[in-house]
Symmetry: C2
Subunit: 273 residues, 2 copies
């Protein structure tokens, strides 16, 4: 049996209420009694990373992970250098925010060069790792759903993310298991078990039927067809007992008040995650 969740395990991934600034999201979390948040870098940048860290601490919150580094593939050397520089800043921001997990959304191929993208991703992680280690930050490769391959990530299965992570000594490189991105995979449960202690984060949302928006059409937990309880049980059996980020990227939710969405998040988390 999977243990009943407590709200103390819930981390609000900020994109779930993208209509809110980071200060507004922090306040919404605090009002709802939440203690963990997963900020996105553009929201952090809007207030400045030092001020963001101060606001988060002042509200009694901690950070589960920073979203996101990655986007490694580039068409030329200048592009690779720009990506490297941005990823080094992402590591530094994670450290300032007090989290040791930087989520890597690895980036799409340049044109048709999928093998090249995968090689550039490996090389990019290799170049970034010393800087991450120096800052006490772990790199968490997040495989994304194959339907997002050309916009977001050439890494589209947990098996591939595990292959990549295993090129490096644990625990500095690991993976994020996002139920929305991986639930369809016939190899899911064996790859979760294989990831084991390399699981650095677990994200939840639900797969709506029909899915009307390929990038921003996720459902709240319990409104779709993902076996969320079963996947959580597998993630926990693999050894993960950290925060569970609710990352419901849904255009419609962004039309509502942040507090309303957070209330739904809490209810759905307890009932269905």
């Amino acid at each position: 049996m999977t243990a009943r969740l407590e709200l103390s395990r819930l981390s609000l991934n900020q994109i779930t209420i993208d209509q809110c600034s980071l200060p507004e999201a922090i306040e919404a979390c605090a009002r709802a009694g939440l203690t963990v948040i997963g900020p996105w870098r553009h929201k952090v940048a809007a207030v400045g990373v030092e001020e963001a860290a101060r606001l988060i601490r002042a509200a009694g919150l901690r950070v589960s992970s920073l979203c996101r580094g990655g986007f490694f593939p580039a068409a030329d050397a200048a592009g690779l250098r720009a990506a490297d520089a941005d990823n080094r800043r992402a590591v530094e921001e994670a450290a300032i925010l007090g989290t040791d997990v930087l989520v890597l959304v690895c980036g799409p191929p340049v044109g048709r060069d999928l093998d090249g993208a995968r090689a550039q991703i490996l090389a990019g992680i290799e170049r970034l790792l010393p800087h991450a280690e120096a800052h006490g930050v772990r790199l968490a490769i997040e495989p994304l759903h194959p339907m997002m391959i050309s916009e977001r990530s050439a890494i589209v299965t947990l098996g591939e993310a595990n292959d990549l992570a295993e090129r490096f000594d644990a625990p500095r490189v690991g993976v994020v298991v996002d139920a929305y991105h991986v639930w369809w995979d016939p190899r899911l449960y064996e790859e979760i078990a294989r990831a084991g202690r390399r699981i650095l984060g677990y994200h939840v949302a639900d797969w709506l039927v029909p899915t009307t928006d390929r990038l921003q059409g996720r459902g709240m937990m319990g409104t779709g067809v993902i076996e969320l309880r079963r996947i959580r049980a597998a993630v926990e059996a693999a050894g993960y007992d950290g925060p569970i980020e609710v990352e419901v990227i849904n255009r419609d939710a962004w039309e509502r008040s942040g507090d309303d969405v957070v209330a739904d998040v809490c209810e759905a988390f307890l009932a269905a995650a």
Copy 2:
């Protein structure tokens, strides 16, 4: 090097010109100098299967495969019986149309029961196989892109299709490799090699960036990011030298004349498939 294609390898999958009836599609193929067609059952039913077979033969065409059997998962025994009956008719229609390949689009899960769907698919193929063998028809499992899992198929990787096919003696159960459905897979080339002589069909289309329609937004070969030449080379190296079906499911193309679309199909096939 991949050999240059000739139009004699091209099979027009009928859905590419869904705006046409089967007689209209047959005439469009004949006018374009094509010799192979891949009809869909609802179009065959509209004229009757015997008449469809007569029209196809009279136009000097042959049938590469019949689309489609499958849709095995059902919520109850009555649903399973209905699926079985329909699949037996599909086998009979394939035989009448003179093709020995019935494409299986295996069907989505009922609700959240993905394991159950996979088990029902295996059981459904087991029940159908004797009837297929009696009619000289091979069953070709087509894995579909994971973004279509809840509408079309619980079988979403070539690896999974190979696992299923290998439960049965070759050559009566095999797979269809559709580049659009499998191009993203990091295990693609090893699974194509593994499929070997079980490859009963090869389908092409292209992945548009962005993809604006999840089910009906495929591109003509050469307009997207799939490494079509490389995938064809792998399929041919695995031993497949049969027809290549052009299956471009695109809403916009259905607004044009069938002849115009077929002209584009021929040009794109020679230039980019």
